[in-house]
Subunit: 418 residues, 2 copies
C-alpha cells in the first residue's frame, strides 16, 4: 500500500522575517512520518489573505494532507479563519462548546472575556472542531474528496497537544492501512563526511533498491540515516543497518537517534553511576544538556559553572599556582577542576572543561579556539585538548561534543565489558 | 523605490523528515531584510532532482532573488549542482582556484584528497564562484534578466561566512537603491496577547498606513513588532514606537529586540555589578543564557547547579532543616540558595531557583509546575513563586523568564534612578 503525501504550511510574517525559528514544522513532520505520511514540501507564507489562499490552492493539488499552523489567534494579524471561509465556500458560526472552553480558560486565569476571545469560538461551518486544551483557538479539520486539511494554532505546546490528542488519532483512523516510514541511524565521531562516504562506497553501491542513505553532519558528529519508505523493506532495513554498524565500528558512538548526552545517560544508569561537572567555557550548557531530559536527577548531581577564575580557586580548589604557571586554559587546570568537582559533588564521574571559545580571550600558549577537557573517575583520569575553528556558538557545540566523547571514553574504560 | 522580493529555498530530506530544524532560513531572512529584501515565501523540498528543478522554476517567477541552501556537499545525496546544469542549460567545468582551496583545506586537516573532494571544484559554467573559507563547497551565483539565484552549502557556519563575505556585499552592489525594512520592538511581561491587544485597540485603529503591528508571544513574554517596509515611513515609525512604549509603560521590559538576559546584562554593566546563580530546576540553563553571549565574563561569575539536594546543603549551605521542614521547593530554600550563592561567588547580585518542572516530582505543598525564585542583593532580597502549566521544556523557558524578571525587579529597586 503506498503512503500518503503531506505538505506543511506555516503562516506568519515572523517566520519570513526570521524572527521566529520554525520548530513546529520539524516536530509535525516527525509525528506524521511515524504514522506513514511522507512530507514532500514545507512552505511558509505571510499573514496575507491572498498569499494564504494561493498557497492553499496550489499545495492542495500536490498532496493528500495539508497541515497548517498559525494565524488562528485573537489579534488583528490572525486572518487564517477568514481565508478558510472563502477557500471552503462557507461561513463562520458560533461553536458553543468552544465558547464555553474559552470562558473556562479565562476564568481560571482570572482574565475578563473580551469580544476578541468570543470570536475565537466562531468556526467555519462544516469543519470538525479539534479541542485545544491549552489555548483559546481550537484546531480545524476539513475533508473533501479524500483530501484532508488541518489548521492548528502556531503556539508550539498548543499545536503539540492538538497533534497528539486530536490529529494523529483521527488520521490513523481515517487511513488505517498506512505503515510508518522506517529509519535506522548510526552516529559517528571523529571522521568527516567525505572520509566516511569514501569508506561506504561499496556499501552505497549495493544498497537495496528503496533504501536510502543520508549523511547528516552536525555539532562535530556525523549522523547516518537509512530510510525505507516501503513497509516491505523493513527486514532488509534491519540487516542493512547491522552491516553499516559493523563497517564503521571504530567510529560508531550510537546506533539510534539520540542526543549524545542521552547515550551517556543510559550508560550511567546501567552502571548506577553519577556525574558532576565543572564548566568554565561551556558556562552551564553541558549541565543544561543533561537536565533538559526528564529523569536526569537519577545520575546528574550538579555542575560548578566557574566562569570567573576566583570560582575555580575558591569553590573547586584549583591551585592558584597552576593557573599562574600553566594558564587558565591548560591541562593541569582542567584536571584540577575535574578532581575538585568529583570531590565536591561526591560523584562517580566528573567532567571538566576550560577553554577560549572566542571572540575574546586567548593567550599565546592557548589561542582562541583552544579547549582542555578532563574526565575523572576515582581510578582514572583522561585529558584531551582540541583547537576549534568556528565562531563562539559553533565552538560551544563542538566543545560540548568533545567533552561528552571524552567522558564516553572514560566510561568505556571503567566498564570495559558492557 | 520599491523593495526587492526574495524567496528562500532549502533543500534536504532531513528538513522534510524533521530531523533538522531549519535555522538557516531565519538567519538568512534577517540579513536580507537588513538590506531591503523582503522574503515573501520560504520553501523546503527533498533531495530529488525533479522536486528541486520544479521548485526553481515555479519560485523564480515570484521573486527577484532566489536564495538556496543545501545539496552542495561531497556525498551522493548532494545533487543540487547537477540540477543547476539542467536548469541553466550549462555544464560543469573545473574551477582551479576552488580546487586549490579544497586541497589546502584538506592538507590543513591532514585528510587525503579524494575524487569526491575534487568534484567539489566542478562548477556550472557561467556562474560566479563564491569563496567558502570554511568548507570545500563554494557558493554559486547566477544572474539573468535582472533576477539573481544564489546557491549556498547548508552547513550553518559555512553559509553564514558566505552570506557575510560574498553574498551581502554583492547584493548591495547590485541593488544600491534598496532601503532596509525597519522594525521597532516593545517587549512586555505579565499580560497575555488578548489583554494587550485590547489595550491597543485605538492605537491599532489609527496606525499610519504602511506600518504594521504584530504580536509575537513566546517564553512568557509578549513581543510587539512595528514594521515599515516603505523607507519614507521611518520618521513616522519612530513616533509610533514612542507612542506604543508609553501606552504600555507599566508592562514594558525592553524597547528593542534583545533576549531578556541581554537586557539585564546591560544594566549590570552600567552599574558595574556582578551576578551569580544557584540553579536547581533550571539545571544550568540560566547560566547558559548569560554565557552564550560574548563578553559575559564582565558581569557573570558562575552558577552552582545544585540538582541534588546534597549539593544545596554541602556547597550552598542551605540548612538541611529548611529542606525537611519546608520542602525542597519552598521560599526558605530559594532564599538560602540565593544567599549561599551570593556569598560563595562573591557577587553583587544572586539569583536562585528551585522547582518542579515535570513530568516527575512534586509534593502536596508544591505540586508539579511550582517554582520558587529568590533574587538577592546585600541590602535586599525578593522572592516569588509561580505555578507553571506547560510540559517540561515550556516550563523551563517560563521559569527562566520569571527568574530574570525577578532579578530585573531587584536591579530596578537597587538602582531606582537609572
Amino acid at each position: 500500500m503506498t503512503n500518503k503525501k503531506g505538505i506543511i504550511l506555516t503562516i506568519g510574517n515572523e517566520l519570513l522575517m526570521g524572527q521566529t525559528i520554525d520548530t513546529n514544522s520539524a516536530w509535525i513532520a516527525r509525528q506524521l512520518q511515524e504514522i506513514g505520511i511522507e512530507i514532500v514540501r514545507r512552505l511558509s507564507v505571510a499573514d496575507e489573505a491572498t498569499a494564504i489562499f494561493q498557497a492553499l490552492q496550489e499545495e492542495s493539488a500536490r498532496a493528500d494532507l495539508i497541515i497548517t499552523t498559525g494565524g488562528l489567534g485573537p489579534t488583528s494579524d490572525d486572518i487564517t479563519k477568514q481565508v478558510l471561509v472563502d477557500f471552503f465556500h462557507t461561513r463562520l458560526v458560533l461553536h458553543e462548546a468552544s465558547l464555553q472552553h474559552v470562558a473556562d480558560l479565562l476564568q481560571q486565569r482570572d482574565i475578563p472575556m473580551l469580544e476578541r476571545n468570543r470570536a475565537q469560538a466562531l468556526i467555519p461551518e462544516g469543519c470538525t472542531v479539534l479541542f485545544n486544551r491549552y489555548g483559546t483557538a481550537p484546531g480545524l479539520w476539513f475533508e473533501a474528496k479524500g483530501r484532508i486539511w488541518i489548521f492548528l494554532p502556531g503556539v508550539p505546546h498548543e499545536m503539540q497537544y492538538l497533534m497528539e490528542n486530536e490529529v494523529l488519532p483521527r488520521l490513523k483512523n481515517q487511513w488505517p492501512f498506512l505503515k510508518s516510514i522506517q529509519h535506522r541511524f548510526v552516529i559517528t565521531y571523529g571522521q568527516g563526511e567525505s572520509r566516511v562516504a569514501e569508506r561506504l562506497g561499496d556499501f552505497e553501491a549495493t544498497l537495496p533498491v528503496g533504501i536510502k542513505l543520508a549523511y547528516l553532519p552536525g555539532n562535530g558528529l556525523l549522523k547516518l540515516r537509512l530510510t525505507a519508505i516501503d513497509a516491505q523493506l523493513h527486514d532488509s532495513l534491519e540487516s542493512t543497518h547491522q552491516q553499516l554498524i559493523s563497517l564503521l565500528s571504530d567510529i560508531v558512538i550510537a546506533t539510534e537517534d539520540l542526543p549524545y548526552e542521552q547515550i551517556i545517560a543510559r550508560k550511567l544508569l546501567t552502571h548506577k553511576a553519577s556525574i558532576g561537572l565543572a564548566e568554565s567555557c561551556t558556562g552551564g550548557y553541558l549541565a543544561h544538556l543533561f537536565t533538559a531530559h526528564a529523569g536526569s536527577s537519577a545520575y546528574f548531581t550538579g555542575s560548578i559553572v566557574c566562569y570567573a577564575p576566583a570560582v575555580k580557586i575558591n569553590v573547586l580548589h584549583v591551585p592558584a599556582d597552576s593557573i599562574d604557571r600553566y594558564g587558565i586554559v591548560s591541562e593541569p587546570v582542567a584536571r584540577a577542576m575535574a578532581e575538585g568537582a568529583r570531590q565536591l559533588l561526591h560523584t562517580d564521574f566528573a567532567l571538566a572543561i576550560t577553554g577560549w571559545l572566542g571572540p575574546d580571550g586567548g593567550t599565546p600558549e592557548a589561542p582562541i579556539g583552544t579547549i582542555w577537557i578532563a574526565a575523572a573517575h576515582k581510578s582514572q583520569i583522561l585529558t584531551h585538548s582540541y583547537k576549534l575553528r568556528g565562531n563562539r556558538n559553533r565552538n560551544l557545540q563542538l566543545a560540548a561534543t568533545h567533552a561528552l566523547h571524552l567522558l564516553d571514553e572514560l566510561i568505556k574504560s571503567i566498564y570495559p565489558h558492557s
